[in-house]
Symmetry: C2
Subunit: 274 residues, 2 copies
């Protein structure tokens, strides 16, 4: 039984498997879409990863991740731009639906979030021609505001769509339930994203109560408080019908369990909860 | 030397002092404005707390806190309304500038944040006549989105101002740096709050990187990444010139230090950072 509507973000299986083993474990349970991280691709080599993708006719719903543009000096910002160009090449080689961007937070020592946001816009603009030339859509992922300082100063779907409008064609958004579920403007901004043709990816997991770690305590769908069916309805009503991508960072729970159990649970919850 | 521009939220000294001792320690360093929590007032008794306030001509910049309206059943919601009426009475007895509201998150077992927001609006509307009769302004405090599930489903200044507009006279906002610093719409919403005459309180502390606990790891001003002078300029430009109120929950650091050191550090940082 395959399920083309579920994509496995390989961070969910980061502690259990490398790229090749993760693909094998997903295929064993009928999952044919994945979203790998760059370090996982680098570990096996880009050519071998691309070969595995083609050999198994996998859909790559995204490559994680580009971004991290702000830096304290021009050399740092240029290094980020150069690295993002390589990420675009990798996404193209893998035939990914998009390159997902976590844009970065405040540069070391800075308290100027407006300046960081400018650095992000400038960095994205610098690489956009290359992304267009390679046919790789750039998916800006707004991150939860609790990451504003150290991971992403792009913190609402509305702000991400404003930035897409500024940048133009070739850009869109990745909508991750974990990051946006709280937003009182979410329904309206998803509808706007649909109208503007910007939805590139739909990520799912759950928000646990309590959350014991700001980064590594995401929940399995159904174990938290996010209304995932409603989010799905809003996103589908906005015209996006791509796979939902499960991305769970869970140092204390799911990363400790056997890979086949995690995959089976993702499938079960996807069918019963999402 | 007194400093009427700094108010001490007594949660900052929660582990060191009860109400009376906290007041004494603040006065010893020239602080004449405080914001107590209800449990601190209850511990000494409302009449005695009010007597101490009057005897020392203290300014009470707020009473913390009302709110927590959502509940799984009507009895729970009514109990919250009743308790909030008592909080209004206490704020009136203390002559507080406002009663600060942390509105509450999702009821147990619920994933419906829109319903929770409706419960909040209904709860606030139910107590507003009593607050008006008592002359106690109701300060809605938008909390950081990371508290949306368990503490407050009111998560942006814009949403708080929308709710004030719906409720009408007698309502306003408490703007806490910790909760709102990340908001890309912050400057515009503070200006709006000024135009609409809604700013009732200005709370300060700092956002640490990393933040090791979602609730109890707030930083001393200057130790984190919030641009507090800019926030102060925006709030003052919007017409609010009341004291800045220091509210630091810090289980691992400031709550472990001697009270006089904490107070002296607050004063020093207030003068050098804010």
């Amino acid at each position: 039984m395959t399920d083309p509507n579920l994509s496995m973000n390989l961070a969910t299986l980061r502690k259990q498997y490398g790229f090749a083993e993760a693909v094998e474990a997903c295929l064993a349970q009928g999952i044919t879409a994945i979203s790998p991280w760059r370090d996982q691709v680098h570990a096996i080599g880009l050519a071998e990863a691309a070969r595995i993708v083609r050999a198994n006719a996998l859909r790559v719903t995204g490559l994680c991740r580009g971004g991290m543009f702000p830096a304290a000096d021009a050399a740092g910002r240029q290094a980020a731009i150069d690295d993002n160009r390589r990420a675009i090449d990798e996404a193209a080689a893998l035939g990914a639906d998009c390159l997902v961007f976590v844009v970065g937070g405040l540069p070391q020592g800075s308290r100027d979030i407006a300046a960081a946001r400018t650095m992000v816009a400038e960095g994205l603009a610098a690489i956009l021609p290359h992304a267009r030339a390679c046919g790789v859509p750039m998916a800006l992922e707004p991150l939860h505001p609790m990451y504003a300082a150290d991971r992403s100063c792009l913190n609402t779907l509305g702000a991400a769509l404003d930035l897409c409008a500024e940048l133009g064609p070739g850009t869109g958004v990745a909508i991750d339930a974990y990051h946006v579920w709280w937003d009182p403007d979410l329904e309206a901004q998803i509808a706007r994203a649909g109208r503007e043709g910007r939805i590139l990816a739909h990520h799912i997991c759950d928000w646990l109560v309590p959350t014991n770690d700001m980064l590594l305590d995401r929940g399995m769908m159904g174990d938290g408080v996010i209304d995932l069916p409603q989010l799905r309805r809003w996103i589908e009503a906005a015209g996006f019908h791509g796979p939902q991508e499960v991305e769970i960072f869970s140092a204390g729970n799911w990363w400790q369990r056997p890979g086949p159990e995690v995959i089976a649970t993702c499938l079960d919850r996807f069918h019963t909860v999402c």
